[in-house]
């Protein structure tokens, strides 16, 4: 074997060794066998600092943090962390881009589903509403939380109505508002909401539902006018 060939062989071997070392160390690190490898290594500076340090690229910085958050949450779902940085990441994202609706929405879902923190979830959504007053999704989510978890119909109805008044609202929010009013016992308001929905919807199914509810509420209101609040329904025939 000539000297040249030997040198080439040594170079290739060296190249291979370096490659194996690189892949090996990375794999070792990824499997978490390095001391402290399973500890959370994330460090997130405060949102205020991020706003100043992102020099005009706040949207991009918020997006980057969002990616990190999604991965962080994914790691939590696999049991790799306990979401201890959750609040600081979300705070960073929404300070960088206060109109990042998906961040508020997703964070509120995580708050109640993973932490069982319903007040925190509503607070997060309200923070979003402050910066995005014309987004139905956030207001609807607040109403939904009151409706499903607190069973607080008047509050739920209030937020559904707020959502229905947004420019991006659909029949969906109006329907929930009318139902919540009905459940809360505000028959007059509910009737008006169903009538409004009946007049505005283009969906046949919703129109027939609205028609049914209008009939039901009209009868109930008439009965109340005749028999008073203690009316419990027609006397069954014997």
């Amino acid at each position: 074997m000539t000297v040249n060939r030997q040198a080439t062989l040594i170079r290739w071997l060296l190249f291979l060794c370096v490659g194996v070392l690189m892949v090996g160390t990375l794999t070792w690190h990824d499997t978490g066998q390095v001391s402290g490898g399973r500890n959370e290594k994330l460090y997130f500076p405060s949102g205020k600092f991020l706003v100043e340090s992102s020099v005009g690229f706040r949207g991009m910085a918020a997006d980057y943090l969002w990616f990190r958050f999604v991965q962080y949450y994914g790691a939590f779902a696999k049991g790799h962390n306990d979401l201890r940085y959750f609040d600081s990441i979300i705070d960073g994202i929404v300070r960088l881009d206060p109109r990042f609706v998906e961040a508020y929405h997703f964070a509120s879902l995580v708050k109640w589903s993973d932490f069982g923190d319903f007040p925190g979830s509503i607070d997060m959504l309200k923070r979003g509403v402050l910066h995005n007053p014309d987004i139905a999704k956030l207001k609807f989510q607040i109403g939904f939380t009151y409706y499903v978890f607190y069973r607080d119909m008047p509050r739920a109805a209030f937020w559904f109505e707020q959502a229905a008044a947004c420019s991006d609202a659909t029949d969906f929010e109006q329907r929930f508002a009318a139902f919540a009013r009905y459940r809360a016992g505000d028959d007059n308001v509910s009737l008006q909401l169903w009538k409004k929905l009946y007049a505005s919807t283009e969906n046949g199914q919703i129109r027939s539902l609205a028609e049914k509810m209008i009939g039901k509420l009209t009868r109930r209101l008439e009965n109340r006018k005749i028999y008073g609040d203690n009316f419990i329904g027609p006397i069954p025939e014997i």
């Binding site: 100043e52 020099v55 005009g56 690229f57 706040r58 949207g59 991009m60 918020a62 997006d63 969002w66 990616f67 999604v70 991965q71 881009d97 109109r99 990042f100 998906e102 961040a103 929405h105 997703f106």
Partner: protein, 256 residues
């Protein structure tokens, strides 16, 4: 005079094309593609927003890179090669030379932004509900911002080395985006000197946040025409001021 400036501007533009500046557009296309196709599973419902943020932000970053790498060494390169003496030995004024260089680089930036803008708009068609002509306002503002930065680099390139010109320009870019915060922090300080200094910095550095409408546009807001006009006047004022100052320094400079 117009002929000289035009000839210099065109030669600067050709030089930038020869330097393969437009390869950056291909990189931009790849980044846009990545932000739409590859990263879409991570966007969790915010694909349109993220794509728009990345696209509009990248335009400014690439423009800034071109300015820093090309603009900072433009005058020095010709001085080192000696070609500047050949040019200035002809009936070409030093201010004309500087203006030609500025316009040439600005033409490069304009073409780059135009191509990137088209790529961006085509990519927005991939994310449902993202495409909108309101992005044109963001392109326009990005061009104005880069024009001011271009004037800054031309100004510095007349008086310091290319490396320092690049560093100073980058500094102006960063401080330009923070000048309002600097003023606000300064006003919170106790002494009058600190307060006055922060106000002086605020007016002494171009406020680049004036041109930053990316967030508004991405969230579907339409930029008011008054804002666009005000930004245009602001950019033109700063550009003229910097070119006059740069021309003044350059015309007194000894060339060897």
């Amino acid at each position: 005079m117009t002929g000289n400036v035009q000839a210099l501007a065109m030669s600067t533009f050709r030089e930038s094309v020869r330097d393969r500046v437009f390869y950056l557009v291909a990189v931009f296309g790849l980044i846009m593609l990545a932000s739409t196709a590859v990263l879409s599973p991570l966007t969790v419902g915010a694909q349109g927003k993220i794509m728009s943020d990345v696209g509009l932000g990248s335009m400014v970053i690439f423009g800034l890179l071109v300015i820093l790498f090309m603009g900072s060494g433009m005058v020095r390169k010709e001085m080192d090669k000696g070609t500047i003496l050949t040019i200035l030995s002809k009936p070409v004024g030093r201010r004309e030379y500087l203006l030609g260089k500025f316009l040439g680089l600005n033409l490069t930036l304009f073409c780059m932004l135009a191509v990137m803008g088209i790529v961006f708009l085509l990519m927005t068609l991939m994310a449902p509900g993202t495409f909108s002509l309101r992005f044109l306002a963001a392109f326009f503002m990005a061009f104005l911002e880069l024009t001011v930065i271009n004037a800054v680099v031309i100004f510095f390139s007349t008086c310091v080395s290319p490396m320092l010109a690049a560093v100073f320009t980058l500094g102006v870019f960063m401080v330009g985006h923070l000048s309002s915060s600097i003023r606000d922090f300064g006003m919170m300080q106790g002494t009058v000197i600190q307060q006055k200094t922060s106000v002086v910095i605020f007016y002494l550095i171009p406020n680049l946040e004036v041109f930053n409408v990316r967030g508004d546009v991405v969230h579907g807001e339409i930029v008011a025409v008054d804002h666009l006009l005000m930004a245009l006047v602001y950019a033109v004022s700063w550009t003229i001021l910097l070119l006059i100052l740069g021309g003044g320094i350059f015309s007194r400079r000894e060339l060897r």
